[in-house]
């Protein structure tokens, strides 16, 4: 993915890292990543890493360690799921708000993606965009990111409620279920050991 440039006297980038085309394509896409991508990355890594760290915490007894690890796993699953659903939903709603529509009021789509009415967004936030002095391409990109920004801010407001009404109780419910599964598994193991 990354190729190291051989240093020579003719290049300005002495010992620099030169990113190949694949890495550049990824970075171009990453520039338009939304909070959904961010939440997904955090959730996946969190589910893999955090319970493992809790299970290796030798400072507490085994039962507390297990409760802690189960809670981390439950938090990662529930938090990521609701986070993605709420963010995705709010961003979609913002896209529809600024979507281009045909004469019948139907939303226009291009390759299944909602076509954004760039002029409508520019007019709404004109003073803000004009103050940044962006070139045409930068302005177009910034305008296309507006639904994602509005959707993410709206999602944060929605999540004040969902965190209390959905995340917290669901995490507790999931943790109870996981504990039940663990207890049954342990019971089966101990019964198996007795039979041997």
């Amino acid at each position: 993915m990354i190729t190291r440039i051989q240093s020579n006297n003719n290049t300005v980038n002495f010992g620099a890292l030169k990113l190949n085309k694949g890495a550049q394509n990824f970075l171009t896409k990453a520039d338009n990543f939304s909070s959904v991508h961010q939440r997904l990355a955090l959730g996946v890594f969190g589910l893999i890493v955090q319970p493992a760290i809790d299970l290796k915490n030798k400072e507490v007894d085994e039962d507390t360690r297990k409760v802690s690890a189960l809670r981390s796993a439950a938090k990662a699953i529930i938090g990521t799921t609701t986070g993605i659903i709420v963010r995705g939903g709010c961003i979609k709603a913002a896209e529809l708000k600024f979507a281009k529509r045909d004469s019948n009021g139907a939303v226009l789509k291009n390759a299944k993606k909602t076509v954004i009415d760039e002029n409508k967004i520019y007019k709404t936030f004109k003073k803000g965009f004009d103050s940044l002095k962006l070139d045409d391409k930068q302005l177009k990109e910034a305008i296309n990111r507006v639904p994602s920004v509005i959707g993410t801010i709206a999602a944060l407001c929605v999540m004040i409620a969902t965190n209390f009404l959905v995340d917290a109780p669901l995490t507790n419910k999931t943790m109870e279920k996981l504990e039940e599964i663990m207890a049954k598994k342990q019971q089966k193991e101990s019964e198996g050991a007795k039979n041997v």
């Binding site: 990113l19 990824f26 171009t28 409760v67 103050s131 944060l156 995340d167 917290a168």
Partner: protein, 184 residues
């Protein structure tokens, strides 16, 4: 819409990495508050586990946001500097081309996500477990001190450990005589 709101919106839309950085920190604050509330109100978690889980949750939130800012902000800044100074270069893209800004923006977004993963998924759980353990030990220490028996003629002080000042009835007396803690 006010000028201020328009400027904020345009700035966020232009600098995606900074926007994701700020909203993640605010989101974690909300998540931590909700989780703490969930533990406090969950009657199925026993008090001993709550003594560990509540400080763990509060510590998690504080450490999470602190470490996130401490790691991610410099990581984003250094990524930008490395690209500006030419320590990271792109194939067939010069500094003057419009593609350069997109790639730099993308690198900053990746740096912000990487910083979040390192701080919130690796460093925070380790730090919060340490803090939670300290808090749990403190709570247990306080509990031992408050449980010190006071002389009261109507109560059997030795019962306080298991029975929370239960009056000395016959059933309690039988339990008292069978108690493993009984040392005469």
């Amino acid at each position: 819409m006010s000028d201020f709101a328009q400027k904020i919106m345009a700035k966020f839309a232009d600098d995606n990495a900074k926007f994701l950085f700020l909203t993640a920190a605010f989101g974690w604050f909300l998540a931590s508050a909700a989780q703490t509330f969930g533990i406090i109100t969950n009657k199925k978690i026993d008090d001993e586990d709550k003594k560990f889980l509540i400080p763990q949750e509060i510590g998690d939130g504080l450490v999470n946001i602190g470490l996130y800012a401490l790691i991610t902000a410099p990581l984003m800044k250094h990524t930008q500097k490395m690209i500006d100074k030419g320590a990271i270069t792109f194939a067939n893209v010069t500094k003057d081309s419009p593609e350069f800004d997109r790639l730099k923006g993308g690198a900053k977004v990746i740096a912000s996500i990487a910083g979040a993963v390192i701080s919130s998924n690796i460093l925070t759980p380790i730090a919060r477990n340490k803090l939670g353990t300290i808090a749990q030990r403190k709570a247990l220490h306080q509990k031992v001190q408050t449980k010190a028996p006071n002389y009261d003629p109507y109560y059997q002080p030795l019962f306080q450990k298991n029975m929370d000042r239960a009056p000395l009835k016959m059933s309690n007396y039988i339990a008292f005589t069978r108690s493993g803690n009984l040392k005469i």
